[in-house]
Symmetry: C2
Subunit: 269 residues, 2 copies
Amino acid sequence: MKQNNQDGQNIGAKLGLERPPSIRDKKRKLPTSEEFIPHLAFDSVIFGFNGRQLKILVLEYHNTGLFALPGGFVKREENLYDAVQRSLKERTGLDNIYLEQFHTFGNHARSNPLFMRRILAENDFEVPDNYWLFDRFISVAHYALINYDEVAPRADTLSDSINWYSIHELPTLMMDHSEMVKMALQTLKRNIDKKLIGMNLLPPKFTMNQLKEVYEAILGEKLRRTTFQRKMLSMDILERHEKLFQGKAHKAPYLYSFKKINALSRSED
Amino acid sequence: MKQNNQDGQNIGAKLGLERPPSIRDKKRKLPTSEEFIPHLAFDSVIFGFNGRQLKILVLEYHNTGLFALPGGFVKREENLYDAVQRSLKERTGLDNIYLEQFHTFGNHARSNPLFMRRILAENDFEVPDNYWLFDRFISVAHYALINYDEVAPRADTLSDSINWYSIHELPTLMMDHSEMVKMALQTLKRNIDKKLIGMNLLPPKFTMNQLKEVYEAILGEKLRRTTFQRKMLSMDILERHEKLFQGKAHKAPYLYSFKKINALSRSED
DNA sequence: CAATTATTGTCTCAAATTGTAACAATAATA
DNA sequence: TATTATTGTTACAATTTGAGACAATAATTG
């Protein structure tokens, strides 16, 4: 696992720019403070489950060795929630991602213009000394749950890569992003029984064992098979479908799906 | 209970100004966008328990019939958490209030400059047409828990009054402040077993029955006396003190306090 | 094609937790 | 001194959860 222990600032994803034909093209344009609300950012902890481990998407910035969460800025007339969805679509290609805000990071000390300057410099951007991204920012942190198999993550202008990392093998993230991941996980654990989290991390049909493995990955502990099954079935949220024949020398498990709940819409705020 | 159903915008508390000698003094100065971070506000749902009901502090703005939550703005170099504490001290006189952020309201539609203009006009303020408080604001909503008996709430420049209202008899609050109260209560309910909420709403020593009444007020339902007592005692968080002789013709209850937990500090973010 | 293997779904019983009521203790009053 | 209202605790029932047993069953093996 790659590691780094330097500091910097999450830019590429926040700019909301797509990767240009040439990474060295100096004509790319930066966002302006007229388009975006100053001092306000968001960051996303995007969770996926690969069948065994809980993973999150992490960006690596070009030439800096800096790792960061995907994030972005809110347009002047855009809802916060819509801004995060827009950014998630840019990184994952997916619409209508399950999304929940969990904390707003508002310490003054979290902002440091030196990191931002370095990233822009390494990417050959030239900006005025009072460029708005050098100001203090507060960040509304969100977590998102997506189906690992459906996604082809895309890096942004300033990033060399965007990749899945196991939550137990993360590189050192810059600024307060490690704390964000920690708090996102805590929130996920607290919500696991209330919010049908499995629904968003699994394909539409899944076995009881797959569901149990999602719970185990989030809670970080083994669960008892029989107790888990009894509990899930008694909640009356699952629909049983045909069996899944895996070609294994034993009884085939049933496939389940989550029942459609009435109006699970996200109007937001 | 006074009611109103108009809209407006929370200003007085946000200005962080103290009530001047004359409410009609036209020389009061307004905050500038140089001092505060633009587009960023906070609002506080301040809970107290009067022995029977859960109550919150609500401001009424001068000459407008508008009711709002206390709120404010963050100074350029101030931590978000410190800004909220500063505002809480101005309204309650108390330091070091138990405080928790629960949601950031970021919809574009929540901001409407007309309400702000009206409140300033009714208070005889004259400001330029592009005054920064007419811009869009996002608000980081917090809830605070205080000891009802210790507080002498103080209104601000633009408010006629600040008063306790039972959560079941609230006036119509402007903007999205009713939604904030609703969400604060939901969060309080979810946290009641994890965060020792009673500690902050009661005096240092209290009877088991008082503690039970706090729980009942928050949860909105009656609890069984014996089960509640058994549960609280088994948690090993209470210290038993002398009896409280109330002069009533029956056995006197013990007084309890919460045990000191190691390092319950609030560094924040 | 019968025996074997590994896993699944369900059931049973034990253990722990919670619900409900009973009861003795007791502070003030009649 | 008896009465009243509430408290603290205990006892037992009901419910939930823990832990294991067991039959069912796909595929493989001999």
